[in-house]
């Protein structure tokens, strides 16, 4: 993937197995979000291919990828700020999951269920711009789940949160895994990654520099010193 003369990703070959949690980490500017933008259809790669469930999905529009079952959150949560928490979750249910919930009542129940799952049921009628950072991230997770994904691309769900918030994120990962979801997650927290990831991929300057089981990758002095710095 290139932006003019800048090569943002080069020779990146990653396979995410079904029902696995794969963590993606690397310093700022290493190409993590660019990779997520390609996988979610927001960017068209200048070279290479994306495959999903045996089908080539390179260059498909984001709403088509959402229709196939790829959900995504952003590093900086982007809910519809002036709409209520409930309405935010209802958008994905209305547009992506309407075939599963034909009646309005069923859609509303699904929205309530998702909000309860992320612990935002008491804030259902609050406007999204009134939420704290952690609550916004949880709302965005509920929005991503509202599209009934089979694969979730989570962009720094734990970043900026307190230690208590991170514990909560670890529990969320556990619940998502129990639901059989495949998760590809950008995270910087070693603690979160060590708890939730089955496998880790480390990017630097657009290339993969390490890959393997968390204990193996996180313990690597090269990864620690050159790319990740101190943990927490």
């Amino acid at each position: 993937m290139a932006f003019g003369g800048l090569l943002a990703l080069r020779g990146v070959d990653i396979a995410v197995e079904e029902h696995q949690v794969v963590g993606l980490l690397g310093p700022n500017g290493s190409g993590k979000t660019t990779l997520f933008n390609i996988l979610s259809g927001l960017l068209r790669p200048t070279a290479g291919e994306v495959w999903f469930a045996g089908c080539r999905v390179t260059n498909l529009a984001p709403w088509r990828l959402s229709g196939l079952g790829i959900g995504r959150t952003f590093q900086i949560a982007r809910p519809f700020a002036h709409s209520t928490v409930f309405d935010n979750v209802l958008v994905g249910i209305t547009f992506r999951s309407r075939h599963h919930y034909r009646r309005v009542l069923d859609r509303r129940r699904e929205a309530e269920r998702l909000l309860a799952m992320v612990g935002l049921a008491p804030k259902a009628s609050a406007r999204a711009n009134e939420l704290s950072l952690g609550e916004r991230k949880r709302l965005e997770l509920a929005m991503a789940l509202s599209t009934r994904p089979t694969v979730l691309l989570l962009d720094e769900l734990a970043s900026g949160l307190s230690p208590k918030g991170r514990e909560e994120v670890i529990r969320f990962y556990g619940r998502l895994k129990e639901r059989g979801l495949t998760i590809f997650a950008i995270e910087h927290s070693f603690r979160v990654l060590a708890h939730v990831a089955d496998r880790l991929v480390v990017l630097d300057q657009g290339t993969i520099v390490a890959e393997g089981r968390p204990a193996q990758v996180l313990g690597s002095p090269r990864v620690m010193q050159a790319y990740l710095g101190e943990d927490e």
Partner: protein, 289 residues
């Protein structure tokens, strides 16, 4: 200024303001969904007005019957404009100014060639005359135009808030990428927005032609008014646009009543400047009704 003149100006301005709301919504909707400033907006309204005038002078039908016809007549142009806007390079805000300035000139010259520079008015007898109400004399034409404008704005409000396509347009306007990730076909939502906005322009054009004389360059002033109202109200904020439209109508009417029509445009220009100074966020606001 007597109390009666003041009341007359307030009511008359509020009626005109309902039309201003209708006129500004199309501009605001396109800006919200595409981040593009459509400088040909006023020219499209004038074109709708000319089409209405042409049909009215040929058929003699009541102008209100011609409103949907003019709205539908601009739909092919909506698809053409959408096609052109879709190809705009970044930064879209700037590119759209260049493109739509050219389209504005093109439309003006087409209208000049088709209808020459003469002033035209849909002078329907059914819209002349006035009604007396609580000591005020209300222009019948303005009453009909205000009622028609409010009916269209109300229908649009219901469409945007209660229907699937309306929600898609609002979500796309708020955050195009986030909307797309939630399964909304944002290209389709954009195309629908153009079709709706151009239909509104055609409708506004016929109503405008019953109130004001048409001339090929008359769209510039309408574009300016749409920009002022959008800055005041925020992009696509339908209820705020209604309030801003009525406020603008009232200020205009008071200016005319107090100092005559020659100050009207100057006051609107000063209001535009004041809006820009007061709101550094300017046009960058989203849908919330």
């Amino acid at each position: 200024m007597s109390l009666n003149t003041l009341a007359q100006a307030l009511v008359s301005g509020a009626l005109l303001g309902c039309f201003y709301t209708l006129m500004a919504l199309a501009f605001s909707m396109i800006l919200g969904v595409t981040r593009a400033l459509n400088l040909s907006h006023g020219d499209l309204i004038i074109l709708g007005g000319y089409l209405g005038y042409w049909l009215w002078s040929g058929s003699g039908l009541h102008p209100l019957f011609l409103v949907p016809v003019a709205g539908a007549a601009l739909l092919p142009l909506a698809l053409l404009w959408h096609w052109l806007f879709h190809r705009l390079p970044e930064p879209r805000e700037l590119s759209s100014l260049v493109l739509t300035f050219g389209l504005s000139l093109l439309l003006q010259n087409i209208m000049l060639a088709l209808w020459r520079g003469e002033y035209r008015l849909i002078a329907s007898e059914s819209l002349t005359g006035s009604l007396a109400l609580a000591g005020l004399r209300l222009n019948q034409g303005r009453l009909v135009v205000a009622a028609a404008a409010l009916a269209v704005v109300g229908a649009l409000y219901l469409g945007l808030t209660r229907t699937r396509w309306g929600r898609a347009i609002r979500a796309t306007s708020l955050d195009r990428e986030a909307a797309a990730l939630l399964g909304i076909n944002v290209d389709e939502a954009t195309r629908t927005t153009f079709l709706l906005a151009f239909c509104l322009s055609g409708v506004a054009g016929v109503l405008f032609a019953t109130l004001h004389y048409l001339y090929p360059a008359g769209g510039i002033e309408l574009t300016l008014l749409a920009i002022v109202l959008t800055i005041w109200a925020g992009v696509g904020r339908l209820r705020s646009v209604l309030v801003a439209g009525i406020l603008l109508g009232v200020v205009e009417a008071l200016t005319v009543a107090w100092s005559g029509p020659r100050w009207r445009e100057l006051v609107v220009s000063l209001m535009l400047l004041a809006s820009l100074l007061a709101r550094s966020g300017g046009l960058a606001r989203g849908w919330s009704h």
